[in-house]
């Protein structure tokens, strides 16, 4: 059993991190907040780097890697708040021409919402009559669709043939979302620890106070538990493991970003701090893949009769 990153996986993760650091740095982040919209050049660059084609067989022009590698890549995307319908486009790489290379942007209906509808070239699911929503997350434009679970496959895109509607959530989509949440949870913990090490009050770094220190410790524990669950689900691809990963990653991200805000105090409450961007994105992702009570039901159903 080697339940740890291989050298190749480490290299892949570091490569994605470097690409994102170069192409989506702090300046790019705040530019995206100020002027929302999808950066098509970045999208194509992601495509060229294999972000979308990661799991496509090499014979089909893909990278030929598996879910563990995809989880590592999405974790990095989550970490830096990378905008765009990453999961939907990644999932469409094998069926929507152009998705794999980042030429075509694919959005998907999930839980009554569509992220990035206006920017998408192809939409999976029934999104006709969708109305724009003033999104809580400045980096995720949202539309609401009338009713969930469209009865028949509908093609609302400009490219490719009819696509199956998204009925019950695709477990892979749920897992990749959990990977993004894991990235957020990890980043929130880093930001909190960094602030706690440097911000001084009462003559010492606030991280020397147990009240702050223990908040950070619990953030780390939640993130590490979620990491074990997400990575394991990537290896097994078992729907029950994925449900567990989703619950723990949502919790780590939603509570972690909130604790990160608490550690930052008033400074975290300003628009200029990136803390709220992580918190809001965690809220957006927690809505994907159905209510979390459904994931609890999946796990409960696996307990013996």
């Amino acid at each position: 059993m080697r339940f740890r990153l291989t050298d190749d996986q480490r290299a892949l993760r570091d490569g994605v991190r470097q690409l994102l650091a170069r192409r989506f740095d702090r300046e790019a982040l705040w530019a995206a907040v100020a002027a929302p919209g999808l950066d098509r050049a970045l999208w194509r660059e992601l495509g060229a780097a294999g972000f979308f084609a990661l799991r496509l067989p090499e014979a089909d022009g893909g990278v030929g890697l598996g879910l563990p590698e995809a989880v590592l890549a999405f974790q990095e995307a989550g970490r830096v708040l990378l905008p765009g319908p990453l999961v939907a486009t990644h999932l469409a790489a094998g069926s929507v021409p152009g998705a794999a290379t980042g030429e075509v942007v694919v959005a998907a209906v999930d839980g009554g919402l569509v992220e990035w509808l206006a920017e998408a070239d192809v939409v999976r699911g029934e999104a006709s009559g969708a109305v724009p929503v003033r999104s809580v997350d400045p980096l995720t434009p949202l539309h609401r669709v009338a009713a969930e679970g469209s009865p028949a496959p509908v093609d609302t895109g400009r490219a490719g043939g009819p696509l199956p509607a998204m009925g019950s959530p695709d477990p892979v989509a749920v897992l990749l979302t959990a990977a993004e949440q894991l990235g957020t949870a990890t980043r929130a913990c880093e930001l909190a620890a960094q602030h706690a090490r440097t911000r001084e009050q009462f003559g010492q770094p606030i991280g020397a106070f147990q009240a702050v220190k223990h908040l950070c410790a619990e953030m780390l524990v939640r993130a590490e538990v979620a990491r074990a669950a997400v990575y394991a689900a990537a290896v097994t691809a078992d729907p029950v493991d994925i449900a567990a990963a989703r619950l723990l990653a949502d919790e780590a991200a939603v509570l972690g970003t909130r604790d990160c805000l608490q550690v930052h105090g008033g400074m975290g409450f300003t628009w200029e701090s990136e803390v709220h961007l992580h918190l809001k994105r965690a809220w957006v992702r927690a809505q994907r893949g159905g209510a979390n009570t459904e994931s609890e039901d999946v796990l409960a159903a696996d307990l013996p009769t």
Partner: protein, 384 residues
């Protein structure tokens, strides 16, 4: 990332399961919890069986008489013995997991030859004399004094939370040899023979009503200097080697057991109708998520330890923090499913619920563990 086992690991597992299936039915009946001599004999008998089958000191180095197994093999061993319902390590706990590894790492060749084989063969029982009434979380504040007198130390003081003290042959004892040095630098590690004159053992009753622990009183007990492991006043460093073992794979069997308990709780809920309450049912679902994750975290920590070839690190603190909370949540859920029966000590899980309350306290409180995680992993400054 891989959760599959190598052919060697699978073979190790298969042989172990085969052996367990063969020997477990031959075990004598389990002694009652308050029959200490019976428990000693039972636990040592099991250790002897492990020894004869080549499983003794599985994770110990070969040159200490162990099997030099990989962390993964150790994990498989703990998983399969728990699943098969094999005896717990019991009275062999301190010898196999604390004192033994310490002696293996820090003892002289003579000390290793004297103390390690009887542990592996199931001949001698060790207990632990670390905590004191005034030195709990602040273990380094211990005050049991040892004064050099010729070839002996003369030891006076008291220890608390000592398991199996009534039937132990040896106690790994921390004493203060230099009261003037900074508190971490005046401590020495001694092997105390429990039959030495001046040693008194008094059972300590816990809130669960049992006497799992004891107090050990030491009144001018003479311990040969030859029983010292490591240098005089270097006992804190020697001890830390031991404690990092404690925080490694110590809970593997328990997590396996908790998953079984959760399944039993679910069965009970289905039987008594509480399963129909979606809130309770989902709570069990979430607990299943927690235990799946804790099992994966164990596998992760073991894999990391295997890769680094070393002792598990602070990952153990991360694990213990969550595990101790989730274990308490498990038995709280059990109580809600039992309803009024949760007040009946004869029902399953009621005593376990009481015992689970110690998990956020024993072997480093959650408060201490959070300090460790925050300072050693996140690099937060120590408080003043």
């Amino acid at each position: 990332m891989d959760l599959a086992h190598s052919p060697e690991e699978e073979e190790f597992r298969a042989r172990l399961k085969e052996w367990l299936a063969k020997v477990l039915p031959t075990l004598p009946p389990k002694p009652s919890p308050d029959d200490w001599p019976g428990r000693r004999a039972y636990d040592l008998g099991w250790q002897r069986m492990l020894h004869d089958a080549g499983y003794a000191g599985l994770h110990w180095p070969v040159d200490a008489g162990g099997q030099g197994a990989t962390p993964t093999q150790h994990l498989i061993f703990l998983e399969e013995t728990e699943k098969a319902g094999a005896p717990y390590v019991g009275a062999n706990f301190v010898g196999l997991l604390h004192a033994g590894p310490t002696i293996a790492a820090e003892g002289t060749p003579g000390q290793r030859a004297r103390w390690l084989p009887p542990v592996l063969r199931g001949e001698e029982v060790w207990c632990q004399g670390f905590s004191e009434p005034d030195a709990g979380s602040d273990l380094a504040a211990l005050r049991t004094r040892a004064c050099r007198d010729g070839d002996d130390y003369v030891v006076t003081g008291s220890k608390i939370w000592t398991s199996h003290a009534e039937v132990a042959d040896w106690c790994e004892l921390l004493v203060r040899t230099d009261p003037h040095a900074p508190k971490h630098r005046g401590i020495t590690w001694l092997a105390l023979p429990m039959d030495a004159p001046g040693v008194t053992v008094r059972p300590l009753r816990t809130l669960a009503g049992s006497a799992e622990f004891a107090e050990v009183f030491l009144d001018e007990v003479r311990v040969p200097v030859a029983n010292r492991v490591g240098d005089e006043n270097d006992g804190w460093r020697v001890t830390m080697v031991t404690l990092s073992f404690e925080r490694g794979t110590a809970f593997v069997g328990e997590v396996v057991a908790c998953r079984r308990v959760l399944r039993e709780i679910a069965r009970t809920a289905r039987a008594n109708g509480r399963w129909d309450d979606p809130a309770l049912r989902r709570r069990l679902g979430r607990l299943e998520a927690e235990f799946r994750a804790l099992w994966r975290l164990t596998q992760w920590n073991v894999s990391e330890a295997e890769a680094s070839g070393g002792v598990p690190g602070v990952g153990g603190s991360v694990f213990k923090l969550r595990y101790s909370q989730v274990r308490q949540r498990l038995y709280d859920a059990a109580a809600d499913i039992l309803g009024p029966d949760c007040l009946d000590l004869d029902r399953p899980w009621v005593l376990d619920r009481l015992s689970s309350l110690s998990y956020t306290i024993a072997a480093g409180t959650s408060q201490i563990q959070r300090n460790i995680v925050a300072e050693r992993i996140l690099g937060l400054p120590k408080g003043r």
